[in-house]
Symmetry: C2
């Protein structure tokens, strides 16, 4: 089958073996896939991943042990845990020590004609939810997961939240804008900081206030909570500069290299920093299905799978939002 | 009066003006002071502090508006907030935006014959608590404050704590060992990681298990919670390597320069990192007074104030624990 394979040789669309379907797995024909910044990081060497890229998709089940599934349109939790350990049993397996992760760790991904995932990772897509929105389920789940981090870390001061001012989102890229969607869908005030006036305008259309990063000035207003979604190693230092004492930083960015930052503010201001990765796909589907979040304005371009390498190059250009790929 | 003044010219013990006593301030004759790694960092440029170093002390009130105080032996909360802002009113002023901090920020410190502090920052020392233990009140308060961070961040999984294994303390220096004291006084299991067999033995005497850092091996056992008290920019990377998914890292180290580390594990493993600075001095005095913590084994040397520069040089030597200075 055709697939975008991450090196070596350098990533190319080429013929690649169809993935093996094991017990409990479903085979899914990809209908539409999305390019994520993580794909660009993986292409730059992050995680040392070799295989088919891509982990944002909507597809159709074509083979499965469960008769219910055949022909069903689905999205997938990309973490395939062992199914037996405590993390898998109690918390969904996102931290299972032996998990594979679609298109990221030990499992061929979605920039292909087909993929396989354990059937238990699949979430059916309601008929009313079109492919072009459903394909956002995975990144929206990650964005909604920011709310879990804020809930957990803000708990002692939850009563303060009303007067705590807006949550600041750093980064007006596709993830940052999905985080704005997620926070706004929960009724939180949001201030979006970015580099692109046209993308800040997308945030404002969702009810956020916005500011260009270079206009923050030397003494910017401090925030109770900051979400770092810049995709850049420099985002951390800016986030630390924007936080009130005892404030909360939710980190979303993973990059291929080390970050260098003066971390003394974490100690001096007793900040709380929490990493946030994947979220609950079923919640994302429900949020999309009700129309509480409509990310279709984020779509920048569509490419056929045969040109998926061009899709990645397009997604890597400065200021480009979501690039989709159709097999 | 004689005082150890932090540059320029390079730090020297010299004659220095007696500090001005403002309204609400008490003048304190220093009886005994301690050298902290933060003093060494300040001497290396951290915070750009210029003035008298030192923030660990026990002293005697010699002038004060409050008649109760004169002649009283005291220790002090080193954060002198404005007394009026919300942080000062609700949370003790450790994060007051206009605070001064004894020997660290805008206020001459304790490596001197005298200092002044707001009377409200003072905590009387019971007669039964000798100077050599009372001088540990400030660093012990900071060590006990680690318990607050663990309480706040572990709350969702508090029921798991019993089977979560030991809290790992990184750093067998004076702060690390005080953290071991603090955690053990709260009944927690502790594993101490350090570089010095003789100091690890001090931790074992408190009931901790211990391991030399170079014996951790490539796949060390993961911990639910790690306290980073190495005083070194490299401590963070090691801490991240030792944490279980969703684990908690309490950061105590502040250094003069930036730290470089691969922060992706914070996101991938959804770690929680919390900075922890100063604690509750009254709690520390109570803990010392009951004998629940006896840090006197940490004293490595005593110097007269006239040789406080030598005291700092001694404290900076690899493996040296607490150095005390007497005016």
């Amino acid at each position: 089958m055709l697939a975008l394979v991450n090196g070596p040789p350098p990533r190319v669309v080429r013929d690649h073996p169809r993935p093996h379907r094991g017990p409990g797995d479903a085979r899914i024909r990809v209908r539409l896939a999305g390019v994520c910044d993580t794909d660009l990081q993986l292409a730059a060497g992050y995680m040392g991943f070799r295989g088919v890229l891509g982990h944002e998709l909507v597809g159709e089940v074509v083979e499965s042990a469960g008769a219910w599934a055949i022909g069903t349109r689905v999205v997938a939790d990309i973490n395939a845990g062992c199914g037996a350990c405590e993390d898998c049993r109690a918390r969904g397996g996102h931290h299972c020590a032996t998990r594979t992760v679609l298109g990221i760790l030990g499992r061929d991904g979605a920039l292909a004609e087909e993929l396989v995932m354990p059937e238990r990772c699949l979430v059916p897509v309601p008929d009313a939810l079109c492919d072009e929105r459903a394909v956002f389920a995975e990144p929206l789940a990650a964005a909604l997961h920011v709310l879990d981090a804020l809930d957990a870390l803000d708990a002692p001061d939850a009563a303060d939240r009303g007067r705590a001012g807006p949550v600041v989102v750093l980064g007006d890229g596709k993830l940052g804008l999905l985080v704005v969607h997620a926070l706004r869908s929960a009724g939180l005030a949001v201030r979006l900081v970015g580099h692109h006036e046209d993308k800040l305008a997308l945030g404002r259309a969702l009810g956020a206030t916005s500011v260009l990063e270079h206009e923050l000035g030397p003494h910017p207003e401090r925030a109770r909570a900051v979400v770092e979604a810049t995709g850049s190693p420099g985002g951390l230092a800016l986030a630390l500069r924007l936080l009130e004492p005892r404030g909360t930083l939710v980190l979303k960015t993973t990059t291929a290299g080390p970050a260098s930052a003066d971390l003394a503010p974490i100690v001096v201001h007793e900040l709380r920093v929490v990493g946030s990765r994947c979220g609950d796909i079923a919640r994302a589907v429900a949020t999309l299905a009700t129309g509480a979040v409509d990310p279709s304005a984020l779509v920048a371009a569509r490419y056929p799978l045969a040109r998926a390498d061009e899709a990645l190059a397009h997604a890597a250009r400065r200021g480009v939002l979501k690039v989709l790929v159709e097999p």
